[in-house]
């Protein structure tokens, strides 16, 4: 046992000492370029997962939420703007995006173990999934909605009177979009009760 530290020590000094064969500069350059390639491929991979097609690659998403979303304003509207899954579900900034993608590994796990692989199982779990999503959005003040919408940009003349009034009250009370706009893109879970 007493030899172990020795081995570790030797390896460590070898690592610390720049290689005799290659110049330090060459090694740094190699590191630099392989870094670019790695991050490039990594980010391309990340971008590929941000398409609508990727998300509906699984029937769990395609047969349920996708069908509902297709009937909503965010899918097709007079302005011709299509809001896709990742616009609402995947954070734009790096840290939160990484966190969300890491959590998304749970979806792969759910897919492998079939947590929502039938309509019945999906409906039974929907409230839990929706609640997770509401909490995530609430925690960041509905940042994904606000990437496109903002209270400031709402026109008192073009927006109907009552929504406008509610928005100005909501803004003053520090309310977030998701507090009042649940179920904008999918059916609400049947267990959901409106706060009266």
């Amino acid at each position: 046992m007493h030899r172990r530290p020795n081995v570790i020590h030797r390896c460590w000094t070898a690592l610390k000492r720049p290689s005799a064969k290659h110049s330090l500069l060459a090694l740094l350059a190699l590191g630099f370029f392989s870094g670019i390639i790695f991050w490039g491929a990594f980010n391309t991979g990340m971008e590929a997962t941000n398409t609508l097609e990727f998300c509906i690659g699984c029937h769990e998403m395609r047969d349920t939420v996708y069908q509902e979303y297709k009937e909503t304003t965010h899918y097709s509207n007079r302005s011709g703007v299509r809001v896709i899954c990742s616009d609402c579900h995947v954070p734009k900034d790096w840290t939160h995006k990484m966190w969300r993608k890491t959590k998304a590994s749970m979806e792969i796990w759910g897919w492998l173990t079939g947590t929502i692989n039938t309509k019945q199982k999906f409906e039974a779990k929907r409230m839990e999934l929706a609640t997770r999503e509401w909490e995530r959005m609430k925690a960041r003040d509905s940042i994904e909605c606000r990437n496109c919408h903002s209270y400031d940009a709402m026109s008192s003349e073009l927006q109907k009177f009552t929504p406008y009034k509610k928005h100005m009250e909501g803004m003053a009370a520090g309310k977030s979009c998701i507090d009042c706009h649940k179920g904008v893109a999918h059916k609400l879970p049947k267990e959901y009760e409106e706060p009266m």
Binding site: E71, K160, T162, K166, K187, K190, E194
Partner: protein, 118 residues
């Protein structure tokens, strides 16, 4: 005797259709109606019992109690975007209900029947 029988059949048919329509009236799908109202933000302006921006559904049901045209009137109200008068006097287009699949008459009718039954 023949005629008599035919009459009896006719009477029976009428009675049966009454029973049937009675059953259809009674069979409001409450969960379906509430789910549609929730999804459409109806409860942002209406409650069943209290006045919000819009009238309580109990009030609406009272207003239309016994009126034969009630159902069609209210279907028109929630599908046409006609002007609604708010308590403060201003008017704006009333919400148009959206169903899935789009424009499903049966779901809209069911919602109106539920409101009228409050």
């Amino acid at each position: 005797m023949r005629i008599c029988n035919r009459n009896r059949v006719a009477v029976f048919a009428v009675a049966a259709s009454w029973l049937f329509s009675g059953a259809a009236l009674a069979a409001v799908d409450v969960d379906g109606a509430k789910a549609l109202a929730k999804q459409n933000n109806c409860f942002k302006c209406h409650s069943i019992t209290t006045e919000l921006d819009g009238p309580a559904y109990k009030k609406v049901a009272e207003k239309y109690r016994g009126k034969a045209t009630a159902e069609n009137r209210l279907i028109e109200h929630i599908t046409s975007g006609e002007k609604a008068k708010f308590a403060d006097g201003h008017e704006e287009e009333h919400k148009i209900v959206k169903t899935s699949p789009p424009k499903d008459k049966a779901q809209i009718k069911n919602l109106v029947q539920w409101i009228l039954a409050q």
